[in-house]
């Protein structure tokens, strides 16, 4: 199962856990399964209307900021983070 790191502000929804194990082979599946385990988490990172990550949310899979968003593949031992997207200059 993937190791999903929960943003500090969202840990109140995951019983205070910073890291949770979630099944999923894509980021979309991870988010959906996270919601099943911890209701209320999905709306903090997913835009229902656009069917995409919320604007400004970056997903980092195995240390790399994903360019595929919900489509990004997640492996069995992957590490997944949701962080603010950082703009450059």
């Amino acid at each position: 199962m993937a190791d999903v790191w929960i943003p500090t502000g969202m840990q109140i929804l995951t019983d205070g856990n910073q890291r949770v194990q979630v099944v999923g082979r894509t980021v979309r599946q991870i988010i959906n399964n996270l919601e099943t385990q911890y209701p209320g988490t999905k709306s903090r990172i997913y835009d229902e209307e656009e069917d995409d990550l919320l604007p400004g949310v970056a997903v980092i899979v195995d240390g790399e900021a994903s360019q595929l968003g919900l489509l990004e593949r997640v492996e069995e031992e992957s590490e997944v983070h949701f962080l603010p997207a950082i703009g450059g200059g």
């Binding site: 502000g9 990550l53 604007p55 400004g56 195995d62 240390g63 790399e64 360019q67 950082i86 450059g88």
Partner: protein
């Protein structure tokens, strides 16, 4: 007399064209004045637009009467925010970190119901010439209800502070950096606290309990401007089919197109944006100011309109970077190991949410391996111009606090500052304070190169002199990018790519194409395509252009190779698998008689199947962060506090320097901007929110006359995620200089200056405080 040390390239991988120093294709036009910048555009019937700006930092706009202006001969149109529909307050992602709350953005372009900073655009006028337009501005009557302004974050966060946006939603969601908008039925009290971010790693309390030594530090920085030499400019023309053409000085013409599409309610297919040559951007030209106003005026006047800012307008009405307050607490063991670190970063966003405080949080501890960390970032709105990106947004102010705190730690521990950094260096697999693991990076290599550099070991002699070091981190960006390689029948290639060229990127792309194709770089003719000539390409920013559009160029050139192999296999009547492409020559793998050059195949392309054009659209991951370490020697005049920079060396991991000359230029330019930020530059703002030094005479930026040569050491630790090992280089050079200077000033004077800029007056005050005067 300072010995001059030639710039060094510590290379790990050699190529034929990549890594060489060809003359840039756009160089001659730029130095002879032939290059076309945004304000150079001339069109039939062109009108000139000027903007009426608020004299107040905070005011309700009760009414605008432009009737007198419209009566003036030669005045063709006046526009206000009433001339377009207010966009939704929903935040949108326009690709690659281009996150916008379009309502805030349109309100910044033309004020809706409030003026939120002195210089805020209220109305636009189009007239036969700029002087007439300015005269017309003076006749426009605006009825303001002046409100008390808030010009510091401390005042903005007080319970009784005037509120800038009644509908601003205070957020702590990781996603909503650009600020949220409350729904219409939410009647809760407004706030100036736009966003709050938190990151935790390990156990911070336990970490500090394990520390033998704890240092606490607080620093303050003022807003500074990016100082690009070319003001913002946009020209718009509506075509007879209802489409719009825009000429813009921009870092991202596709972003201009997409933003204008949302703001004007026009499909993207109806907007063409042509990027002109750009005289500097540094992040601040990834947003729009002039273009939408030009479009609105052009629509009303039924003639093309050009709107160009003056220098004062650039200072007062485009985005400086944030003023900041950063507090750091570090815990270390007696042998110098960092065990805990805590930081609170408060950044002033200006009139609308969206300071680079997430960037500051992302970078402040990232150069180091620290097991227990806590980070808090706060984004506050105040009555000053909306902040805009400036080279490694958020990181320089964060590093100013962190790297000077490290210097204090080293002093107390009696430890060499580079040895300390080597001991605590982040490496591949280090857990960052924001959570993810660090990928493969070259921090250890840059520290080692700095330690071994002659500058570091040369004794610094003479009174009132000091040496400082500091390091910096930047994450680097990427995003969608496109390129086309069009083979000409004379064996040259027209390379059309989508990245606005701020720093010589077009020659870097030409080099990459030439490397793949095995031809001379002079035979690749690069150009920046407009939004109808090349596929979508995200902004030239985030140090991402050479990486992402380099990938697109690489793939486009590979596409040419594939087509050529297929073509020649047909000519020779062999299978494609029997043909190989080596150094610009196509040859049969086993029959040495069968051989043709790239140029020969190019000459026969039409006769053998048609034109050969390679193309690629990419969105590559793996940009890879980069790190830098700077060394500076200064002399401080004990009577006046004036700082003279004696010697400066910048060491940086660049992955692979495609064109070392332009990489050196990026490093030197970033270092110089950091020196200006550290010693000279600040927005002097009155308590009524008026900038008092809005010209280059009073906003003092360093020139080449003020500084010695900036020596560079290019360390190449190849990025495994790029075929040539590229990492972005343009931003990290601005991160270390302020802290390096502060540490050097401490070496020279014994005092630590914890605010920027470290002006002569600020240094003397610190010296007098220390001496009890």
């Amino acid at each position: 007399m300072v010995d001059y040390q030639p710039n060094a390239v510590l290379s790990t991988q050699e190529f034929k064209v990549v890594g060489s120093r060809p003359i840039r294709h756009d160089g001659a036009d730029k130095v002879t004045g032939r290059a076309q910048y945004g304000a150079d555009i001339q069109l039939q019937g062109l009108l000139h637009g000027k903007i009426l700006r608020s004299p107040h930092a905070h005011a309700k706009i009760k009414s605008i009467d432009a009737s007198k202006a419209l009566e003036m001969p030669g005045v063709h149109a006046v526009v206000t925010s009433a001339d377009w529909e207010q966009p939704s307050g929903k935040i949108e992602d326009l690709a690659e970190g281009s996150i916008h709350n379009l309502r805030f953005l349109s309100n910044n372009v033309l004020a809706y119901d409030k003026a939120l900073y002195k210089g805020h655009a209220i109305a636009g006028v189009a007239a036969d010439n700029p002087h007439l337009a300015e005269q017309a501005l003076m006749t426009i009557k605006v009825d303001y209800e002046v409100l008390p302004p808030v010009v510091t974050f401390r005042d903005a966060l007080k319970g009784d502070a005037p509120i800038l946006h009644e509908r601003l939603q205070s957020l702590s969601n990781p996603g909503l950096r650009a600020g949220g908008y409350k729904s219409d039925d939410d009647t809760s009290k407004g706030t100036n606290l736009a966003n709050q971010f938190e990151f935790k790693l390990g156990d911070i309390e336990k970490g500090f309990q394990e520390a033998d030594l704890i240092i606490e530090k607080e620093t303050n920085t003022s807003a500074v401007h990016q100082g690009y030499i070319e003001p913002h400019t946009g020209t718009a023309r509506w075509n007879t089919d209802g489409s719009l053409t825009v000429w813009s000085s921009t870092q991202g013409h596709f972003n201009v197109r997409d933003l204008m599409s949302r703001m004007l309610g026009l499909p993207v297919s109806k907007i063409k944006v042509i990027p002109m040559e750009i005289g500097g951007g540094f992040g601040a030209k990834g947003i729009i100011y002039s273009e939408p106003v030009a479009a609105l005026l052009a629509k009303k006047a039924n003639r093309p309109v050009k709107v160009t800012m003056s220098r004062t307008e650039v200072f007062e009405a485009s985005g400086p970077t944030s003023g900041t307050n950063v507090r750091v607490k570090l815990g270390a063991t007696n042998d110098g190991k960092l065990v805990a670190a805590e930081a609170h970063l408060t950044f002033e966003a200006g009139a609308f949410p969206g300071s680079p405080v997430p960037g500051g949080c992302n970078c402040i501890f990232s150069a180091y391996d620290i097991p227990n960390t806590y980070l808090e970032g706060i984004d506050v709105v105040i009555n000053k111009p909306k902040s805009a990106a400036y080279r490694a947004p958020g990181a320089p102010a964060a590093a100013f606090c962190m790297e000077t705190a490290i210097d204090e730690l080293c002093e107390k521990l009696g430890m060499d500052p580079l040895e300390f950094r080597l001991l605590n260096s982040a490496k591949e697999g280090t857990r960052r304070a924001t959570g993810p693991l660090m990928p493969y990076v070259g921090f250890v290599e840059t520290l080692t190169a700095a330690k071994e550099h002659a500058h570091y070991s040369t004794p610094l002699e003479g009174p009132n002199r000091g040496r400082g070091v500091a390091s910096g981190f930047w994450g680097n960006g990427t995003g969608p990018a496109s390129a086309m390689a069009i083979v000409n029948n004379d064996g040259t290639v027209n390379l059309v790519e989508g990245s606005a060229d701020l720093s010589g990127t077009r020659v870097a792309f030409a080099q990459q194409a030439a490397e793949v194709l095995g031809i001379a770089v002079e035979d690749v003719i690069p150009s920046v395509g407009d939004t109808e000539s090349v596929g979508f390409t995200s902004n030239s920013g985030g140090s991402g252009a050479t990486f992402k559009t380099g990938w697109a160029t690489y793939e486009a050139a590979q596409d040419v190779k594939r087509q050529m192999i297929a073509r020649i296999a047909k000519v020779w009547e062999v299978s494609e698998g029997d043909v190989e492409y080596v150094d610009g020559v196509l040859q049969h793998k086993s029959d040495p008689e069968l051989k043709m050059t790239f140029q020969q195949v190019a000459a026969r392309q039409n006769a053998t199947g048609g034109p050969i054009t390679g193309q690629a659209g990419v969105n590559p991951g793996g940009a890879g962060p980069c790190l830098a370490t700077h060394i500076v020697d200064v002399e401080v005049d004990p009577e006046t506090g004036k700082v003279t920079v004696l010697r400066y060396t910048a060491v940086q991991d660049v992955g692979k320097a495609i064109h070392p000359g332009y990489v050196e230029g990026q490093i030197q330019g970033g270092a110089v901007q950091g020196i200006g930020w550290g010693l000279n530059e600040e927005y002097f703002t009155s308590d009524q929110g008026v900038m008092m030094n809005s010209t280059f005479l009073d906003y003092r930026m360093p020139t080449s006359l003020d500084l010695p040569m900036i020596d560079t050491v290019i360390v190449e630790v190849a990025n495994p995620a790029h075929p040539f090992g590229i990492r972005g280089v343009g931003e990290v050079p601005i991160v270390p200089p302020m802290a390096a200077l502060s540490n050097a000033i401490h070496g020279a004077t014994g005092v630590r200056v914890n605010q920027l800029p470290m002006t002569p007056g600020a240094i003397m005050e610190a010296v007098w405080d220390k001496n009890g005067k």
